[in-house]
């Protein structure tokens, strides 16, 4: 089977959340000599981008998105160990989390996943993350982009608090924000470097913040 056919099928398997077929197509890709990075980007990620479109058009709901993400994660588990060297790894390091007081995570998880697929080094601190927890992680590992998510209007002040405290200690940090209650105006008011409405935009914006073309 041609490379393009394998990758098309891989993308389709993600879109169809076909957990029974993901192992097979990933192994097939490896056996065919497809670079695992290419398989991740042009197979798995391409499928997930299509899932994002289906979600935006509301043909897919969160149940479908979660199941597609599971299939993508399974594909990553198979392909990642075969990546040699740094591959297409972006040098920018992203720390991501849902802000203190908020436990919503689905959108944030997808963004983290897509950033990782996009080659960023991603550390996901989970949900309800305090400024101190973000600072501790940045002190340990460094951070180029701090990606913050909140769904609720009642935790917007947490987002501002985190940006203020982290910026005070690490003024070079670039802040990428998103979530249902966040608007471009909120982002600007909070002093964020970038705003993204969905996972696809988050990757584009992160690349811009990291100074990466494309």
């Amino acid at each position: 089977m041609k490379v393009s056919e394998i990758l098309d099928r891989m993308a389709q398997i993600v879109v169809e959340f076909d957990e029974d077929s993901i192992d097979g197509v990933c192994n097939e890709a490896l056996e065919a000599g497809i670079d695992p990075n290419e398989a991740i980007l042009n197979g798995l990620a391409r499928g997930m981008n299509r899932v994002g479109e289906l979600y935006e058009s509301q043909e897919y709901g969160i149940p479908e998105v979660l199941l597609c993400a599971d299939v993508l994660n399974r594909g990553m588990d198979i392909l990642k160990p075969h990546i040699k060297g740094a591959g297409d790894k972006v040098s920018a390091r992203v720390v991501i989390g849902t802000v203190e007081g908020d436990i919503h995570c689905i959108g944030k998880n997808i963004v983290g996943l897509m950033l990782e697929v996009g080659g960023f080094q991603v550390t996901d601190l989970g949900e309800d993350v305090s400024p101190e927890q973000f600072i501790e992680e940045i002190e340990k590992q460094g951070c180029d982009i701090l990606a913050l998510s909140t769904m609720m209007t009642t935790t917007l002040s947490s987002m501002k608090n985190i940006i203020d405290k982290v910026a005070h200690q690490f003024p070079e940090t670039r802040f990428l924000v998103g979530g249902a209650s966040v608007t471009p105006e909120t982002s600007e008011r909070f002093g964020a470097s970038g705003y993204a409405e969905n996972a696809t935009e988050a990757v584009k914006t992160a690349r811009r913040l990291a100074g990466i073309a494309g």
Partner: protein
């Protein structure tokens, strides 16, 4: 022109009667810090103790001039009573209770004890409702309605067994989804009726997690549960779902709710009019962040008037108000209604 009390305005308009002017009641209230300071009622106590909850609830009428109040406001009331771990920060006067851990690891384990209405902050909700009812009856001639608020079955179910689990069950294991939704429906019937017995006038059921479903999932698994709940509640009732509800709106007239409270700009009034106009009331929707929190008083007034002109049946914020919304932006909604009715030549005997 005949005019009514705010309570009559709410009840009549919810039941589809044209009262001849725009109702003065705003049936979705959450307190802001300016109100907490003026009533000396702060979180977390006001989410767990009847008296401060009642003081803050009355601020909906006395300080915001919304001619209505709503109790309670935290989205964690039902899940906490069902056994979820919920935490509060004692030194955060504006912080809502936060969900920390689900109560059940399997949908088939979901159940609740006979004394469930004594658990968590349920007793405080009933006590606050009784206190507010007493105050309204004695000081305001009973004219201000109390909206009894609850979370919806899909939202509660998601937290008590896990959000990811519940969403995945909607495709992979519908029997499990149905089981937990059915138990939660039984809980909500008990809870809502006890709030009404305590003095509530109408029910507002907020089910934000349902926005994440496709129309088919919503129709197959959530609408039947709404019907079960609404069939067991005799008073008028409304539902609020945040976000992009345009694709599920047409299903709502089958739910048993009298009105739908929406979240602009997730859905437009025109879309709702096409989907449910004439069969359900439409409530909303001035955006909480761009207008109430970040906008000016005039921004709130202008958007309120725009919503009235587009044909909503009640005004409300698009969702719960951010706690640091300035009070002048809250009262701006009341000003808009007053201005609208004044221009239409409506004069009220009482206010």
């Amino acid at each position: 022109m005949k005019t009514y009390t705010p309570k009559e305005e709410l009840l009549k308009t919810l039941l589809g009667e044209d009262i001849g002017y725009f109702p003065r009641t705003v049936p979705l209230f959450t307190p802001v810090v300016d109100m907490m300071k003026q009533t000396d009622a702060y979180f977390p106590a006001a989410n767990y103790e009847g008296e401060p909850m009642a003081r803050l609830a009355l601020a909906a009428h006395t300080l915001s001039r919304w001619n209505c109040t709503m109790i309670p406001w935290a989205s964690t009331v039902e899940m906490e009573a069902m056994g979820c771990r919920v935490i509060n920060k004692e030194d955060d006067i504006a912080g809502y209770p936060q969900f920390k851990e689900r109560a059940f690891s399997d949908a088939y384990d979901v159940t609740f004890p006979k004394d469930i209405l004594t658990r968590g902050s349920f007793p405080a909700v009933f006590e606050a409702t009784k206190i507010v009812r007493g105050e309204i009856d004695s000081k305001y001639n009973g004219e201000i309605p109390i909206v009894s608020m609850c979370q919806g079955p899909f939202t509660i179910a998601s937290y008590i067994i896990g959000v990811n689990e519940m969403f995945k069950h909607m495709i992979k294991d519908k029997k499990r989804a149905e089981k937990v939704l059915d138990v939660v429906a039984d809980l909500l019937i008990l809870y809502c009726n006890r709030m009404l017995e305590s003095g509530g006038d109408v029910i507002n059921l907020a089910d934000p997690a349902a926005e994440g479903l496709t129309p088919k999932q919503f129709e197959d698994l959530v609408i039947p549960v709404y019907r079960k709940i609404t069939a067991a509640i005799e008073t008028p009732r409304m539902t609020h779902i945040c976000g992009r509800t345009g694709k599920i709106a047409h299903l709502l007239p089958e739910s048993g709710f009298h009105a739908f409270s929406f979240d602009y700009p997730g859905v437009e009034v025109a879309t709702l009019k096409d989907a449910i106009g004439g069969r359900m009331g439409i409530i909303g929707s001035v955006p909480t962040v761009t207008h109430f929190l970040e906008g000016s008083r005039q921004d709130v007034i202008d958007m309120s008037i725009s919503m009235i002109e587009q044909g909503v049946d009640f005004l409300s914020p698009s969702c719960g108000l951010p706690q640091y919304t300035p009070l002048q932006n809250v009262t701006a909604m009341a000003e808009a209604i007053e201005e609208w009715n004044r221009k239409k030549g409506v004069t009220f005997e009482t206010s």
